[in-house]
Symmetry: C2
Amino acid sequence: MPKIAILGFGTVGSGVLEVCRRNAAAIERRVGAPVEVKYILDVRDFSATPDAALFVQDLDTILADDEVRVVVETIGGTKFAYPYVTRCLQSGRSVCTSNKEMVATYGAELLALAKQNHVAFLFEASVGGGTPIITPMHQCLAANHIHAVQGIVNGTTNFMLTKMQNEGMGFDAALKIAQELGYAETKDPGDDVDGRDAGRKIAILGSLACGRHLYPENIPTRGIRAVTAADVKAAAGLGCAVKLIAWYAEGETGPAAGVEPMLVPADNQLAGVNDVFNAVLMQGDMLGDVVFYGKGAGKLPTASAVVADVIDALKNGVKIHDSLFWQPSERRPGLLPDPARCPRYLRARGLGGAVLAELAGPDAALVFEDAAAGEAAVLTAPLDAAGTEALCQKVALLGGEPALVLKRMPG
Amino acid sequence: MPKIAILGFGTVGSGVLEVCRRNAAAIERRVGAPVEVKYILDVRDFSATPDAALFVQDLDTILADDEVRVVVETIGGTKFAYPYVTRCLQSGRSVCTSNKEMVATYGAELLALAKQNHVAFLFEASVGGGTPIITPMHQCLAANHIHAVQGIVNGTTNFMLTKMQNEGMGFDAALKIAQELGYAETKDPGDDVDGRDAGRKIAILGSLACGRHLYPENIPTRGIRAVTAADVKAAAGLGCAVKLIAWYAEGETGPAAGVEPMLVPADNQLAGVNDVFNAVLMQGDMLGDVVFYGKGAGKLPTASAVVADVIDALKNGVKIHDSLFWQPSERRPGLLPDPARCPRYLRARGLGGAVLAELAGPDAALVFEDAAAGEAAVLTAPLDAAGTEALCQKVALLGGEPALVLKRMPG
C-alpha cells in the first residue's frame, strides 16, 4: 500500500488529508491500491487533535520510512520548502506541491533533480488552484506548439476588479472587502495587488510553453493599485472590462511575458471571468484557443488538484517529465521585452482632455475628462512600447503626469 | 520507432497525418522516439497523391505488421469502424478515435476489450473536438467525484442559436447559413439540429462520470427545430440566452441525462459561449465548477487531440484505463428520468396571454404575446417534469397547443 507524507498542515495540507479520506474509494480504484497518509510534518503542536499520531517534526523520520513513496509539500515559500523538497527528491520520493513561489524560482532545477532520481515533481495546484491547467497544457495539448498564454490567475484582484466594475467601488474599498472576506492578506496584500502572485504563475506557464526557465524577476509586473473607479467606468464605456492579465507570448527574439491590468473587450472569453474565478487561455498552433476556467483557490479544490498529482505520480512517475519539463536558464538582469502593438488607454493628470487628445494624435479618442480632478484619458491608435513611452514623455513635457496606461487586448 | 496506421483518410484522418508531420519534433520529444504514419487505410483511390505509398485497402496488411503499435480510427459511424477497431484491439494494438457514435454505442465493450488485451482505447477527440475534456475529466479530476456535467457540445446548433440571438434570424435562415459554411449537413442536418450528436457526447461524458454505460437511446433528446426568433428574443428579455444543453446529473435513483434547448442566464458561464465554440462545465464534489472551453470541431484541432491520445497510448498504454473506464450495462427500453425542478418557459399557440398566465398560476409571468400569430409564452414558478406535463395538458384541454418548453438553468 503506497503511503504519503504531507509537509505543512495549513489550509491546503489539511485539505489533502480530507480529500484522501473522503474520496478514498475513488483514489484506490485509480491507483490500484489504497493510499494512506502516514505522516504529517508540522512544527506546531497538534497533539490534542484526532490525528495526533500522524504528526512528526523531523523530515528524517519520513525519509527513513521506505513505505513513503510520495511527499506532498504545502508549506509555501522557499526557505523550508526548497531544501525539504530537494532532499525528498534526492531520496527517491516523488513530490507534489501547490507552492508557486518555489516552482517559479527553482522549477528547472527541481524538475532535473526529479528526472535524475527517477521520480516525479508535480505542481498542478500551483496555478489555478483546483482547475486543471498544467496537466492539460503539457499532456492533452502534447501535439500542439503553444505560442501564447493569457490568464486571469489571481482570484483576489479579480474579485476586487469585479467589485469595482459592478458596484463602482474604488481600489481601497474593494481591497477592504477582499481583506474582510479573507481573500487578501490584511498585513501586506502586495503579493496579490502588486501582481507578484500572478507573475510567479505566468513564469511557470511560460517556462512550460517555451521550454526554458523564465524568472519572475525578469517579467515586467504591474498590479492594480493605480486603477480607479473612473478607469473601470471608462473601460465599460469602451465595451471593455479591466482585468489583471498575466501573459506569455513567443516573440521574434525569444519569450516575452508580463503582468498588467488591461482592457478586455466584452467578446474576449476572459472578459466574463468574474469574482474569485480564474481562467487561462492558451493558443496552440493546431488547436486555436482553449480556455480552462474554474475557482483559482480554496482549500478542497486546491487539495483535490494536489491529490490528482499524487495519483499521477504513483501511476506514471518520472515518465510524466517526458512532457512536463523545461531547461534551466541563466539568471540575467533586466526585463523581458514587450513586443505588443495595440491601442492604449492613457489617463493623465494636469492636462485638459483636448490637449491630451491632440498629443495622442488624430486616431486617438478622448475617453473621459474630469475637469474637477484635473484628469483625462484617451484611447490611442495601436502603439508599441516605444511609441507609448514617447507619448508619455510628451505628456510630461507639457506639465502633465501619466497616471495609468492599459493595453487593449484583441476581442 | 513506433509506427501508426490511420483508418479513414477524411477530414480528421488527413489532419492526423498533417499534425504528425508538422509537429514531429515535439511529438518525438514527448514519446522519446519519432512517430511515423506507416499505413493509411481508405477504400478510395489515392494513387495519384504524394502519399500514395502509404495507402492500403485491407486491414490485414496493417495487422500483419508488428511495427504498428497504435491505430487511429477516423472512419466514423459503426458499420466498418466497430469491427475494425475490435480486431485492432484484439491484435494488441492501441486505438485512438474521434468516433463519438462508436464510443457512445460500444464504449464499455471496447474499453473492456482494450483492458483484456493490455492496450489503450482512447477517444478524447470524440467530445469537444480539440478541446481537452475527457482527459482532464478522468485524470486531473481523479480526486473528485463528478456529480453533474452541463455542456454546449454541438458547434453547429450553437452557431445557429448565436445567429438567431445576434441577428434576429429564424431557425430556417440560420440553418441555411450553417449549411453554406459547411457547419451543417446539406442533405440531412438532423444529427446536429435534432440533438443526436449532442446525445452521443453526453452519453460518453455521463458514462465516464457514473461508471456505467449510458445508451444514447435512453437519453431524452430534443433539438432546436422548435426554437423561433421570438423565443430567443423573449429569452433575452429575461436576461438569458437559448442554448442547446447536454446534461448529466447524478439523481437519487441513478443517473439522469438529457439534451434540450434551455434558457441560460447571462451570469452562467455557458451563456457567453458563442458561434461554433463548445464548453463543458463539470461539478466535482471537492472542486466546485470547472469549465473547459474551445473550438468543438475543425480538422487540425480535432486531429491534434487524436495525436495527443496517440502519444498517451504509446507512453502509458493500458494503465490509462485505471481511471478511463466504465462498466457495461444492460440495454433497457425507455428514457432516463428527469429529476429537475426549475422554472419553465412555455410558449403555446391558440390561447391568449391572459388565459395562459392564469393557467400557469399566480407565480408565473407572461413573457410575450403575439396576438397576430396567436401565440403567447410564460415563465412559470419552479416545476418538475410531472408539473410541466400537467400544465401542458391544461393548455391542450382549453384548446391551446404547447409549442415549446425550455427549462431555465441556474445562474
